[in-house]
């Protein structure tokens, strides 16, 4: 038992017990005593700019937020001179901020200036409001800045510098009229701002506000600027004294409640699993408001989650089922489409057998929908041919973890990554692919001394920030990992106690490492021996190590083996089961984890229970009342092959643009053309849907209830924020109707019933229920029947019979390389602002304005060599196909490496280049192994990156808002020293 240290503090004569090291303001707030505090925000900590929380401590007037509690401290919050100092500070704020609440779009009950003034009982403005000489900055697409309402509390700067760590915002305290500035004082649109929107989230008032709110939130705010100005004047004249002003504006704020809905949802982009309230008015999305209690993200968001919701109301949404009629689609009623689907599936099954049908689930859809899709395949059709897009990305990681530690998911939580002493990322462009998670690492590294080691081909943001950055030759991570592990063992640096208590298979594994000498590794990877030794030492001596990896590891022919090598290294060094340690395969889609978890896999029922296990099958046969298929089904890759071989005749694809995201798309789309029946369920007429016989219009996440599981294995609920767009239906409803047309009456009235069925069958989710997931509550699997979950895995052993992990021997052979003809290596990956093939994000005008299309990154050396410049047009030709695009010359890539973002579905789509090579263990396409030759079409031209793209900005890193510079100003006097005792 650890005794917690406690400290006794007297506040207004009453003794309180605080925690050692606690902030005084935090303690005061927890006691029910009240002091005004505007710049303080629990998620940000003390900033000390607003001076409103002045209290008397042992006779001295000080800012409570700037004080750590000490034993015996005597604190007064209510003495007249304390009150007077606080009032002085509040008066200063009102010199900068005009209160016209009734006609302000921020008057929604949560304005912290309004609430603080009202609570303090401030009746009159002592000094007149003084506007600045600056104009509003309306240049951005997503938020705007009004210097005349800004109180310079610096929260936006704090969040930008130290939470998001994009380091765009500062306050220039030295100029006559200080203000928030972007980079070196450029308009926000021209800056390095990535539009994560967190400044507008933490702004206590309407200074930094989402543009979606403007003229929309209030009943009287949608006025022409002139009228608005007059109304502000009028409001001030009529509402003399703040009492009446607050009464009127509070009433108006209450009225807003009745027409603005605030609904909790979970982001539908990457695997971080940010949750937040979405504010809607009719079908309009006004803004996204994260909460401090959002378990994965706190107050953080990225541009997609905060602002990328335009696709929901896109004109291009399908609103009627489509049936293929010769050379065109025809819109039909649901009844007709569903009976066609049922009839044709029955026919294929009757003529050719159940295994002639294949099903692909969506990692965008909910857990419940994944469950129903596999139920449809297994129960209604009778085939195990069901898979999902994790086959394209993270199945190798899952495989590597199953082999060694028994659970195919992140070992811990994002909090563990943030608290690790050493974070290693391998093949992960974290800052763009998992931006909110990356920010946690960036913050820990910037402020708390975390070490960051980055292994990647490309010098992306994390690489630039890293304490050490290595560029191993493509596909050779397994080699340096194994060599480093071997060296640690050779030096006797392994965690012997951990190995003897918790790990099996040491002897054989030790032997398998023999070939992985330092010299061999240096030769294969290009990392020098000395550096490899340093890496080994750092890993071995760090208290806690967390390894994050992504597609740069998995999308290779040895993706599973490399993932296994990571896990082996962590086992040898005892980095499992302790806070701050573990393996973190960063999941790409919002529900790529859950889609596999809930059974959309050819070899697993929900909860990774094997289809080949008799007992498991019997369990499902009993529950579903049918005989179920034995053996395993075909995965995505095998399905496409089977179509070419005439062994698969029908496919049902749910929410997946297979024709763009699968490797070697020419081969894939050729397969589609050969199908007898092709059913696609999606929001849009995607490239894949163009090949379909039937297209069923579905509803996106905002229009339904359900759950998603993020990369931390965290199951979170999303609530329906909007009704399904007319003519569309949520996927779970469609699947249920398809089943009904095939004479299976499932009878679900709400997704909660689907979850309770799944939880009743799959041991892993035994304790999962909608009640336990209410609001912002979440559960990290495995969840026992009593609701106990496991934020950190393996604290009491590994899920094998003897509770011991297994070291897994590996070998290596380099199978891919460039050659003389195909001399360039194409790497591919994500961009921050676009998601995947772009079906959703290209619908956002604001995003597209700044990043209109994908581009080809070419190194300076290669550009010189081929005589091309920025804006050149090139054709890349691989053995499988060709893609064309516009070049940007950058130091993010080096030598003969080329980078092509995967976010394009036109001629630049990277999968025209990829071929049929796959990971040998999981059939995951080796997307990262493409050798191409380059043909120059045009030598130079307009840069594909517009001038207002954040990549062109110039960040200004500093720690916090530098309040000391404010205190140094000649016109600054501490309110506490101004009041007379």
């Amino acid at each position: 038992m650890i005794e917690r240290e406690h400290t006794v503090v007297t506040i207004n004569g009453t003794e309180y017990l605080g925690e050692s090291g606690q902030n005084l303001l935090e303690l005061i707030n927890s006691t029910g005593e009240s002091v005004p505090a505007i710049c303080y925000n629990e998620s940000l900590g003390p900033i000390q700019t607003c001076d409103t929380c002045i209290v008397q401590v042992n006779g001295e007037l000080i800012r409570a937020c700037g004080q750590t509690i000490e034993a015996g401290m005597s604190v007064q919050t209510q003495l007249p001179h304390v009150h007077k100092s606080q009032k002085e500070a509040l008066d200063r704020i009102l010199e900068k901020h005009e209160l016209y609440c009734t006609v302000c779009d921020y008057n929604n009950g949560s304005c912290e200036i309004h609430n603080t003034m009202a609570e303090f009982g401030l009746e009159h403005q002592s000094r007149p409001f003084k506007p600045t000489s600056y104009d509003r900055d309306d240049s951005g697409s997503f938020y705007r800045y009004d210097p005349d309402q800004c109180i310079l509390c610096g929260r936006c700067v704090e969040v930008c510098q130290d939470v998001q760590v994009n380091e765009t915002l500062t306050i220039d305290w030295e100029r006559q009229e200080p203000r928030v500035i972007w980079d070196n004082d450029v308009p926000m649109d021209q800056s390095s701002c990535v539009n994560c929107g967190q400044c507008s989230t933490v702004c206590p008032c309407n200074a930094m506000m989402e543009t979606g709110m403007e003229g929309e939130a209030g009943f009287l705010t949608n006025q022409k600027p002139g009228i608005l100005k007059s109304m502000i004047e009028l409001t001030k004249k009529v509402e003399t004294g703040y009492g009446p002003l607050f009464a009127v504006s509070d009433t108006e704020a209450e009225m807003r409640e009745s027409r603005i809905n605030k609904t909790k949802t979970v982001c539908t982009y990457c695997g971080v699993g940010c949750s937040f309230d979405v504010w809607t008015k009719d079908r309009k999305v006004l803004k996204v408001e994260p909460h401090p209690e959002s378990p994965a993200n706190g107050i953080s968001t990225c541009v997609k989650g905060k602002f990328g919701w335009d696709y929901v109301n896109s004109e291009e949404r399908l609103q009627k089922p489509l049936l293929r009629r010769d050379d065109h689609f025809e819109e039909v009623e649901w009844e007709e489409a569903l009976s066609y689907v049922a009839k044709r599936m029955n026919e294929v099954k009757a003529e050719k057998g159940a295994d002639h049908l294949g099903f692909i689930s969506s990692s965008k859809a909910t857990n419940e929908e994944s469950y129903l899709m596999q139920k449809l395949a297994r129960q209604v059709i009778g085939t195990n041919n069901i898979d999902n897009c994790s086959r394209y990305c993270q199945t190798p990681a899952t495989k590597g973890l199953f082999r060694t530690v028994g659970h195919g998911g992140d070992s811990g939580s994002i909090d563990d990554i943030a608290s690790a002493e050493l974070v290693i990322t391998i093949g992960s462009n974290t800052a763009e692919s998992h931006p909110v998670l990356a920010s946690r690492i960036k913050r820990s590294q910037k402020l708390f001394g975390q070490q960051l080691y980055v292994f990647d081909l490309r010098k992306h943001e994390m690489a630039k920030r890293a304490n050490a950055f290595f560029q191993p030759k493509s596909g050779t991570d397994l080699v340096w990992l194994s060599a480093v592990t071997k060296y640690i063992l050779d030096q006797g640096w392994e965690d012997q106690a951990f190995l003897s208590d918790w790990v099996n298979g040491f002897g054989e594994y030790r032997e398998s490492l023999e070939p992985f000498t330092m010299d061999y590794a240096a030769k294969m990877t290009g990392i020098e021996v000395e550096e490899l030794k340093k890496i080994a030492e750092e890993v071995a001596t760090s208290e806690s190590v967390a390894v994050c990896w992504a597609m740069g590891v998995t999308q290779h022919m040895r993706g599973s083996d490399t993932s296994t090598a990571i896990s082996n290294l962590l086992l040898i060094t005892g980095n499992y089961g302790k806070p701050g340690t573990g393996a973190y395969p960063l999941r790409g889609h919002n529900n790529v984890q859950g889609c596999s978890d809930f059974g959309s896999m050819p070899n697993f029922y929900p909860g990774y229970e094997k289809t080949t296990d008799e007992k498991v099958r019997k369990k499902y046969e009993k529950a579903w009342g049918v005989d179920l298929p034995q053996g395993t089904g075909k995965d995505n890759h095998q399905m496409i092959e089977a179509i070419h071989d005439g062994e698969l005749s029908a496919m049902y694809v749910l929410g997946e643009d297979t024709g763009i995201v699968d490797a070697n798309i020419n081969y894939v789309t050729d397969a589609f053309e050969k199908l007898d029946l092709f059913i696609v369920q999606d929001l849009f007429l995607t490239k894949t849907a163009e090949y379909a016989d039937v297209v069923l219009p579905a509803s996106p996440s905002l229009e339904k209830d359900g759950t998603f599981t993020n990369t931390e294995r965290r199951i979170q609920r999303l609530y329906k924020a909007l009704d399904p767009l007319e003519g569309t239906k949520p996927d779970w409803v469609i699947l249920q109707e398809v089943a009904k047309f095939m004479d299976f009456e499932w009878g679900y009235t709400h997704p909660s019933e689907i979850m309770s069925e799944a939880a009743g069958l799959a041991t892993m989710f035994a304790g999962v229920s909608y009640e336990r997931l209410e609001g912002y509550k979440s559960l990290q699997w495995p969840v026992q029947e009593d609701g106990t979950d496991e934020p950190l895995l393996f604290t009491e052993g590994f899920p094998f019979e003897d509770k011991k992990a297994r070291l897994f021997p590996l070998d290596f052979e380099l199978q891919y390389d460039t050659d003389e003809e195909y001399d360039l290596h194409v790497n591919n990956g994500r961009l921050l602002e676009h998601f995947h093939e772009g079906n959703m994000t290209y619908k956002s005008e604001g995003i597209t304005r700044k990043t209109p299309n994908a581009f080809i990154e070419v190194s300076e050396e290669l550009a010189r060599d081929r005589g091309i410049k920025e804006g050149a047009e090139v054709k890349l030709i691989s053995r499988a196909g060709e893609a064309t695009g516009v070049v940007t010359v950058t130091d993010r890539v080096k030598g003969k490496e080329i980078f092509l973002p995967l976010n394009d579905n036109g001629k630049s789509a990277v999968n025209f280049l990829t071929d049929n090579r796959v990971d040998k263990d999981t059939n995951t396409p080796a997307y990262k192994e493409i050798a191409v030759k380059m043909k120059v079409l045009k030598k130079k031209g307009k840069s594909p990156i517009p001038p207002n793209n954040h990549r062109r900005g110039n960040p200004v890193p500093q720690i916090s808002v530098k309040v000391q510079d404010k205190w140094k100003r000649e016109d600054y006097q501490f309110p506490g020293s101004q009041v007379k005792r």
Binding site: I227, M231, D327, E331, L675, L685, E690, Y691
Partner: protein
């Protein structure tokens, strides 16, 4: 089986079908909310009888225009004292002793009534005043007035 296609033949609903659909949707809503709709009709009837409906209709149509004009007009300097007085006036009303005022008003009215009986030619000399002091009504009035004068002069 199929080459990629993008052409979509839109599902066209005839005007009759559309009417039919809309009508059945409305019919359903009416059935679900019968009570509220009947009360709503009563409310409309009430508004119509009082002539309020016309005014409300006209105002709704001209809402933005009206607001603009109103705000522009009222924002002129000449109204500033009025606007600033408005809240004070409201506070003043709050402070007045309405009960006392009502009593006083009744008395004033009685006085005026009595006054009307007095012929314009009547004259009063000092002796009449001394005599009048003995009249309990006159005496009470004077005493009240003296009290009022005392209160008004108080600092």
């Amino acid at each position: 089986m199929g080459k990629p296609i993008t052409g979509i033949k839109k599902y066209s609903v005839t005007r009759e079908e559309q009417l039919e659909n809309d009508f059945s949707e409305v019919k359903e809503a009416v059935a679900d909310n019968k009570e509220a709709i009947l009360k709503g009709i009563q409310l409309l009837k009430g508004l119509e009888e009082g002539g309020t409906l016309d005014t409300a209709y006209a105002f709704t149509n001209a809402k933005n225009e009206a607001l603009t004009r109103f705000v522009e007009e009222i924002s002129k300097d000449q109204y500033t004292p009025l606007l600033e007085n408005l809240p004070s006036l409201i506070f003043l009303i709050g402070e007045l002793d309405v009960k006392g005022i009502r009593e006083l008003t009744t008395r004033l009215n009685q006085g005026i009534e009595e006054m009307e009986h007095v012929s314009p030619d009547d004259k009063t000399n000092v002796l009449d005043i001394a005599k009048a002091l003995k009249d309990p009504n006159i005496n009470r009035s004077l005493t009240l007035l003296l009290g009022f004068l005392r209160g008004m002069g108080r600092q």
